[in-house]
Symmetry: C2
Subunit: 525 residues, 2 copies
């Protein structure tokens, strides 16, 4: 069933620049088939194919583009259990989580189909001509947002479905009208091929140009670098490490024509437990926190890597409850040997740091690529003095930080770098303190959660999965939720176009029935 | 009346890092007073002052922020003729143009006051909680856009009012809720101080923190570089040369925390005369084109620097009509000796290029810093072979390019770099060709005009004054029109916030009466 081929402009292409092997992280064994890695010529072919499809694809009708997204969703569902089994094999993730992730991926494509049908993403605006205006008459001005052009998407290791081949960036870019070229993550090549072929079938079934979607495999950083540097690429979506993200940002900025890079890189997602909340429900918070940290072997970008509390009632109880949960958690298989090795190194770094003490370790597991979860503690002054303690440890580890008082907690909030999320635990009595922290957290995070935990990123209209640098490369954008479509669009103004040339979204009489701004007023006019 | 001081956090500060002299470009003489240039310590003070105002200012009510923008407009009007006289003295621009520019600047501030009152710029979104959802209940998610933080704005030389101290970027940033620090252009320091003091009075009258607005003077690139590098600055607005714009982009990208730079740099604004239009009204097009090129000594960023026509009926008539206009136009005083020198060099470069012939020169003027307008001609193959012919000559010069056929015209359209504008002259018979060109022009320009000329950038809701690199640093944005507010905003998501903490724009019951997306549906709910 799997061929090990890339998909370039609708054709299966065997890469000849080396081999890529999928691995079963639970056993460390490689699993067939062997995938062929592509080279710069393959990148070029995929980019030219995407380019040749681009002007046509971006002007497909809303109805047909939405139908394509729905078809892509259905094709993924139609992959059935074979897709789930392959993803389990390549990632070690449990079936239930992959079923959930598959459903999320499919729902995401369907949400974007709805977004396309709605048409509001084009943000049509019309300013009517004023031929009688003095001293100068005013022309007729119309504006819509159009697709940027071919988008390069990098599959993430930690979500083999929802942030990979047909993940959030792919769905948003296709919805915007951009052809997509995915660089598959080498940690799950078979899963990538299955999803890639599902997208390819949807492209063909909808009669779209084959260049609308391509899938590349590659070893090392070269193929990704070639993709981002290619002059046909108009934007980049990436989820991964800060080092890789910054490298892509540098390549994009050094191009003859710089392009936007949307890189989601790293975040430690601080949780602030305010005094009344900690006093009222320390054990509950501790158990919930531990569950969030250890969820899915800790491999969520929204994993809470920092827990801040003010010295006072409840903090010991919190630590005891959290520690008990950590200690009863068995090490789970991590996504890959590379991630496992990095996690071990991070845990070692914290374990041996002079200002850090170990509160709890989980139980050792039996399989490969497993390391028990770990809970550490330090104080706020140490956290602020030692930047290394502010670095993400990707996996089920977290650091409890004691603050002397509310002022010191505020200092920590102010001095931490940009984050995907910030979380507050609070009771009514904490509201005045929360009100002081909120403006700081707004500046520092894309999402602020109260009395919950940051893992779990709802796919909805109000979601922001983003945040100031270094959480992402561009805090003005989100990679999850319907607003993500905007990252792949730009506005164009049309002045005095004859009716025969005006794009339908901004045509007289509103033939598509869109919400439009007419002389500044929103309405279906 | 003028002091030569900078305005930092509400206080007049005499810069001590050298002197800046305003010059009368019509005579080449310096005009008092002498302005003191600031240094890095002044930058730091302005940035800290802006920072300390930022959290408060961004949460001012819509009503009070709009009132501040209206007050700023009124204060500029209240400067009266003194402002116009000073701007005439420093720029050599005629009174009528400066009166128009002043009115535009004031109207722009008032438009943004309306945008603020409308509140739609926050794009509120609410996804209601679904406590009964299975397998996971859904929380309550709300989103609004917030201000990025303090913005650095660089005044432009060519619009001493509309793109300077209280120009488009300043108005958009203040509307978004960002404090602004303006680096005044040294070509019109007195005009800058007058407008800066008007803004300062509006800040004080509205009871806002003084850090909401500061004005710096500086020699050379150092002060601007220090400003863009300062860790309190969250975004940059710039209008000027490509070299300076790229330098600011590089500084911003190299920061510990990279920030967005909105640089409007250069554009040659191609005009495409399609065959039927040229056959039908060559002389009219020629005269209109010449008027657009020579408008305001050619010092518009939307000046049409390229005119493309297909060999055939009308092209000689067009050239003759345009040449006659050029030849009857007297050289006007340019904005500064630097701009004048660059224009002379550009004209020389084209005059001596082996593939270029001179069609027409204007008449010599009597004053300083004057060079007659110049019209050149070449063919499409030469244009494409010689990148130097695609470079902007800032001033009243343009290049007529003959294309063999429609295919070659399409090649030119495809191969030109990004532009602020592209213009088509067409008749009904040209529509099929226009339809082929339009997708290319959409990719290449921020605004597409038909049967007009690109000079004249309407301040309205549908305007896009932007375009792909190298016209600007970021083709996803506009610097003119109400959509410009978006460049200084970013989205934040709020999950399960108690009512006592929810920002009013996304509060239950819609207390501000805003358009909001509730579960994806737009409405005033």
């Amino acid at each position: 069933m799997l061929t090990g081929e890339m998909l370039i402009g609708g054709v299966g292409v065997r890469g000849t620049a080396g081999e890529i092997h999928g691995f079963n992280p639970a056993t460390g064994e490689s699993v067939p088939p062997i995938f062929g890695a592509g080279d710069a010529a393959d990148v070029d072919r995929a980019c030219e194919s995407a380019w040749s499809a681009s002007d046509h694809y971006r002007e497909t009708s809303l109805v047909s583009r939405a139908a394509f997204l729905d078809a892509a969703a259905s094709e993924i569902v139609a992959c059935g259990d074979a897709l789930i089994e392959r993803a389990m094999l390549e990632t070690g993730l449990p079936r239930a989580r992959l079923l959930g992730e598959r459903d999320r991926t499919v729902a995401q494509l369907r949400l974007f189909a709805d977004v396309v049908r709605d048409g509001g993403f084009m943000e049509p605006r019309i300013d009517a001509a004023m031929p009688e205006r003095r001293p100068q008459p005013r022309g007729d001005y119309r504006q819509r947002h159009i697709a940027l052009g071919p988008v390069a998407v990098f599959g993430a290791s930690n979500f083999p479905l929802a942030f990979s081949v047909a993940g959030g960036d792919t769905a948003a870019a296709l919805a915007a009208g951009c052809p997509v070229i995915v660089k598959a993550h080498s940690a799950h090549p078979g899963t990538s091929e299955l999803v890639g072929r599902a997208l390819q079938r949807a492209v063909a079934a909808c009669g779209l140009p084959a260049g609308v979607f391509s899938l590349l495999f590659g070893n090392g950083a070269d193929i990704g670098a070639a993709l981002v540097a290619h002059h046909r690429i108009a934007a980049v979506g990436f989820t991964g490490s800060r080092a890789a993200g910054r490298a892509l940002m540098a390549i994009a900025a050094a191009r003859v024509e710089p392009i936007p890079v949307y890189a989601e890189m790293s975040s430690i997602n601080p949780v602030y437990a305010l005094p009344a909340a900690l006093a009222a429900r320390a054990a509950t918070i501790g158990r919930g926190f531990a569950a969030s940290v250890t969820l899915g072997a800790g491999q969520f970008c929204t994993n809470p890597g920092l827990f801040l509390a003010i010295e006072g009632p409840g903090i010991e109880e919190f630590e005891a409850a959290a520690a008990a949960e950590f200690e009863s958690t068995i090490a789970a298989t991590m996504l890959s040997s590379g991630i496992h090795a990095a996690f071990c190194a991070g845990v070692q770094r914290l374990s041996h740091h002079e200002r850090v003490k170990v509160i709890a370790r989980g139980r050792t597991g039996a399989g490969a690529n497993q390391t028990p979860p770990a809970l550490f503690a330090t104080d706020a002054a140490s956290l602020l003095d030692h930047a290394v303690l502010q670095e993400e440890v990707f996996g089920a580890a977290s650091l409890v930080v004691r603050c002397r008082d509310a002022t010191e907690m505020g200092d920590v909030a102010e001095r931490l770098p940009g984050q995907l999320t910030a979380t507050l635990h609070l009771e009514e009595a904490d509201v005045p303190l929360a009100r002081r922290l909120l403006p700081v957290l707004e500046r520092k995070a894309g999402r602020i959660a109260v009395n919950g935990f940051p893992t779990g990123v709802e796919v909805c209209h109000a979601m922001v999965h983003g945040g100031p640098f270094p959480a992402t490369s561009d805090g003005r954008s989100t990679s999850v939720g319907s607003l993500a479509i905007r990252r792949f669009l730009r506005p164009v103004c049309y002045q005095d176009l004859p009716a025969s040339l005006v794009p339908v979204a901004i045509a007289d009489g509103n033939p598509l029935g869109l919400w439009r701004r007419l002389n500044g007023e929103l309405g279906k006019h």
